[in-house]
């Protein structure tokens, strides 16, 4: 087991290195000068532009830049944001909790509501309920998240004034504790629903087919013949459908992160996604790179953890 773990961890590191190189090359090979818009408010002379370029080290050879980039990375230094004039690491990590909160909530909803509905569909296959749940999930999957978010924000937040249409908390709230938690929860509802609609639709479809596959095995027939209750039979089937679900966890992370870029922008949710969207708008390459690196790291980590979970559950994996 330990050898397998080591091998798998090494694999993850290699993948991370490849991702980093790809990102680095992208940033430096593309046309356009990242400093081109710095002088927008106050025009700079050529000498002043050159001083800025020296400060950001943009004129050194590519290999040297890559080396200092890697060294900086090891020390946790991702550079300085051009737009905000602050270290990228700080900016990125201070936004991470909000994204984790939103993503965590959506994942939770996926793994409860999504799983439950998918299993239900499989069990009641071809019933009217199955049919309209399938149509619903297909429609949900097809809806653009940013459009849904806009409509919800306008309808529920502005038109009906039921929930706050933007932000994560009310700045005037003085109380702490439970009231503060309730405040964040109120702000969380709309973005979470928006992101969940799309992801749960996918989870439902996936789980439905995974459950149907699992129910087809002969041991299910045996179990029924043996006289086990329906519930016990389904429990057996569900456990085996768990494996694809774990894969789902590893797959959904990149999708959630991408979706959060739109949803966070629409709802002004102060997470990594809206930071990335702002960085795009400002052509702030260091910040965009920092966000991309962090996300890539998270995705690789999630993939690694999924494989570990797989290995723990299914001994056959360890020996392959």
């Amino acid at each position: 087991m330990r050898r397998w773990l080591l091998r798998r961890a090494l694999q993850s590191l290699v993948t991370l290195a490849v991702a980093l190189v790809i990102l680095f090359l992208l940033m430096h090979v593309l046309p356009g000068d990242p400093l081109s818009r710095v002088g927008e408010g106050r025009p700079l002379t050529l000498e002043q532009m050159q001083a800025l370029r020296d400060r950001y080290g943009l004129d050194r050879p590519l290999v040297e830049q890559l080396w200092s980039f890697v060294v900086g990375l090891v020390h946790g230094d991702l550079g300085v944001s051009i737009e905000y004039a602050r270290p990228v690491t700080g900016l990125v990590f201070e936004r991470l909790p909000a994204t984790l909160l939103l993503g965590g909530t959506v994942l939770l909803l996926n793994f409860t509501v999504g799983l439950w509905l998918g299993v239900r569909q499989a069990v009641r296959k071809d019933s009217p309920e199955d049919r309209w749940l399938t149509t619903l999930s297909l429609a949900g999957y097809a809806t653009p998240s940013f459009w849904l978010g806009l409509v919800l924000a306008w309808l529920v937040g502005v038109h009906w004034r039921l929930l706050p249409p933007a932000g994560m908390r009310n700045p005037l709230l003085d109380a702490g504790g439970l009231a503060a938690v309730a405040d964040v929860a109120r702000h969380l509802v709309l973005p979470a629903i928006t992101l969940s609609v799309v992801s749960i639709a996918g989870t439902m479809r996936y789980q439905r087919s995974a459950m149907l596959e699992a129910l087809r095995f002969p041991y299910i027939l045996t179990a029924r013949a043996k006289g086990l209750t329906e519930r016990q039979v389904l429990w057996h089937g569900w456990r085996n459908a768990l494996f694809p679900v774990l894969t789902l966890f590893g797959l959904w992370l990149p999708i959630l992160v991408s979706g959060s870029v739109f949803v966070e922008s629409v709802f002004a949710w102060p997470g990594l996604g809206s930071l990335a969207a702002a960085a795009v708008g400002n052509r702030d390459y260091p910040l965009l790179m920092g966000a991309a690196i962090l996300v890539a790291g998270m995705v690789i980590l999630a993939g690694f953890l999924t494989d570990v979970a797989y290995a723990l559950l299914d001994p056959r994996v360890r020996y392959s």
Binding site: A153, A166, E230
Partner: protein, 564 residues
């Protein structure tokens, strides 16, 4: 392999019943959260707090020393840091008299190149230490260092030295006599605490703890910043000119205009800067009993800039537009008043020369020339541009009078006006081709001079010396390479005039209008919205919330939270 068909359940299983209960519970919880009672009732502290919806967040509220000079940073910095003085209500930037004292209690002119400032002895930093001359000297030393802040150093290039005389006197020396010496000392830089910052080298300032919690001398002190959301400031009780009545200021971020408007209308914000287009939004805000709409002069100026150089080869003059009469004709063919009224309603005006509503020099200027189709046609005819082949477009020497106009898609005002201009120019035989593009691409084209006409928009400092940037031969933003030595010398003369520089600047505007390097299309007033419970409100055009410390809070008109 047998194919197993699951049996449909006959009646709700215990699992299903439990699920229904769970769902009902979730539904109850959501509706509980959604009810208005979940929102805290308005407290006294909420009444005296001021929430502004802004477009960006302040991440570096000490723009003096770092390059992050965004509007959001300036707004917060203006509350945290007091300057030596501030502009008076006339916004006149030239001469020594039109300023109001702030950190500097008074100033005296020693000679034509020396000014001495007396600091107010009551002024202290938020940590209690007094503001001394050393703080001013230290700040200007860093600000004037091109390695540290190139942009600022450029603006302060006419200051030779800043020295301390004793603890409370600061002496500024300049390179030469000119009208805006006081403005340069007072407007661009707010003093920073030397006792906290002198020990931090300039390169590591971005990483310093001070940036996370700046200590200043202004009417508000730093409380906290919640990343991506808002910045909170609290009133400085010991502010030497009196503690502000508005006890808390919160700059709340919402990137797009629609979201800010929603916050305002939902009662989650007390004010917003410019109410976003379309103009129907202004009507929506006016209809709200709790809000007051305040027009504020803006530094924005929109103009059609003629490229003086050939767009394909900048060393050669433009084949069509280097002719002044052609430029004048185009200006006369446009009905600017109609366009401004149609697109901006009451919020816009047609400027005379490149002077937006915030520039004090526009007072006393004549009205902009009205449309004159006959004169326009006459001018074009006289320069040899006639329509030989009857296709509606004039030609000369085989070349048609076709011009390309670049417009960024980020500006709905300019997009609409461009369309109208196209129609109007068609009536005099000029074919205007619209080239709309993304803002970043537009900036590239503009800087490269790859256009015939540029529908530009700039934001000018209150100082008219900024005109040199765009309209002098060596101006850094003069992308059209317009060059008239007479304008250069008129600008120099106006800058050097120490008192009463108005007429000198009028001469500059007149000359520019004569040369017609551009058609000055619009200048507009921003429409700010502020909750009615704030009284004695004055919004300053150069920095809107600078007057916040003088506002008062009335009892009426409680803010309505969402859900009521």
């Amino acid at each position: 392999m047998t194919h197993w068909t699951p049996r449909p359940a006959a009646s709700p299983t215990p699992a299903a019943r439990r699920a229904r209960v769970i769902f009902a519970g979730i539904g109850l919880a959501v509706s509980a959260l959604a009810s208005p009672r979940a929102v805290p009732a308005q407290t006294e502290s909420a009444r005296t707090s001021f929430v502004v919806a802004t477009g960006d967040e302040a991440t570096v509220p000490i723009p003096t020393l770092l390059e992050g000079g965004s509007v959001a940073n300036r707004d917060v910095a203006d509350q945290l840091f007091a300057r030596l003085g501030q502009l008076g209500p006339t916004l006149i930037t030239s001469g020594d008299r039109a300023f109001e004292p702030l950190l500097a209690r008074s100033w005296t002119r020693r000679d034509s190149v020396t000014l001495a400032f007396d600091l107010d002895p009551r002024a202290t930093w938020h940590d209690g230490k007094p503001v001394t001359a050393e703080d001013v000297v230290f700040t200007f030393r860093r600000a004037r260092d091109p390695a540290v802040s190139p942009g600022l150093a450029n603006l302060l290039r006419r200051i030779v030295s800043v020295t301390a005389e004793g603890g409370r006197k600061v002496v500024f020396r300049y390179t030469e006599p000119y009208g805006e010496q006081l403005y340069d000392a007072v407007f661009h830089v707010a003093p920073l605490p030397a006792h906290l910052l002198a020990s931090i080298p300039a390169e590591s300032l971005a990483y310093a703890a001070y940036v996370q919690a700046p200590v200043g001398s202004g009417p508000y002190r730093w409380v906290r910043r919640v990343p991506g959301e808002f910045v909170e400031l609290a009133a400085n009780e010991r502010f030497f000119l009196g503690a502000p009545a508005v006890r808390r200021v919160i700059f709340r971020k919402a990137v797009d205009g629609a979201a800010r408007l929603n916050m305002l209308l939902a009662g989650e914000a007390d004010a917003t800067e410019n109410i976003p287009a379309p103009p129907s939004n202004v009507a929506r805000v006016s209809a709200d009993k709790n809000l007051r709409v305040i027009p504020v002069p803006s530094p924005t100026l929109g103009y059609l800039l003629f490229n003086q150089r050939d767009s394909r080869d900048r060393n050669r003059p433009h084949p069509t537009l280097s002719d002044r009469d052609v430029r004048r004709a185009i200006g006369l063919a446009l009905d600017r008043r109609l366009m401004v009224r149609a697109v901006l309603g009451n919020a816009g005006e047609v400027p005379y020369g490149p002077a937006p509503t915030t520039l004090w020099i526009r007072y006393g200027t004549p009205a902009a020339a009205p449309m004159n189709l006959r004169e326009a046609r006459r001018l074009l005819d006289s320069r040899g541009w006639t329509d030989h082949d009857g296709d509606g477009v004039r030609e000369r020497e085989g070349r048609p009078l076709t011009l390309s106009l670049i417009v960024p898609t980020s500006s709905p005002i300019r997009l609409q006006m461009a369309q109208m201009a196209q129609e109007q120019l068609r009536a005099v035989g000029v074919r205007l081709v619209l080239d709309q593009m993304d803002f970043r691409v537009y900036l590239e084209r503009r800087d490269a001079g790859a256009f015939d006409v540029d529908f530009a928009s700039t934001s000018l400092d209150p100082s008219p010396s900024g005109l040199g940037q765009g309209w002098s031969c060596q101006g850094l933003t003069n992308v059209a390479r317009y060059c008239d030595p007479a304008v250069d010398s008129l600008i120099d003369a106006a800058i050097r005039t120490r008192e009463g520089a108005g007429p000198a600047w009028h001469a500059v505007l007149r000359r520019i209008e004569d040369d017609a390097p551009a058609v000055f299309m619009y200048t507009l007033n921003y429409m700010y919205a502020v909750n009615r419970r704030f009284t004695n409100v004055r919004i300053r055009p150069e920095s809107p919330w600078l007057g916040l410390r003088e506002w008062t809070v009335g009892p009426q008109g409680a803010r309505r939270p969402a859900g009521d």
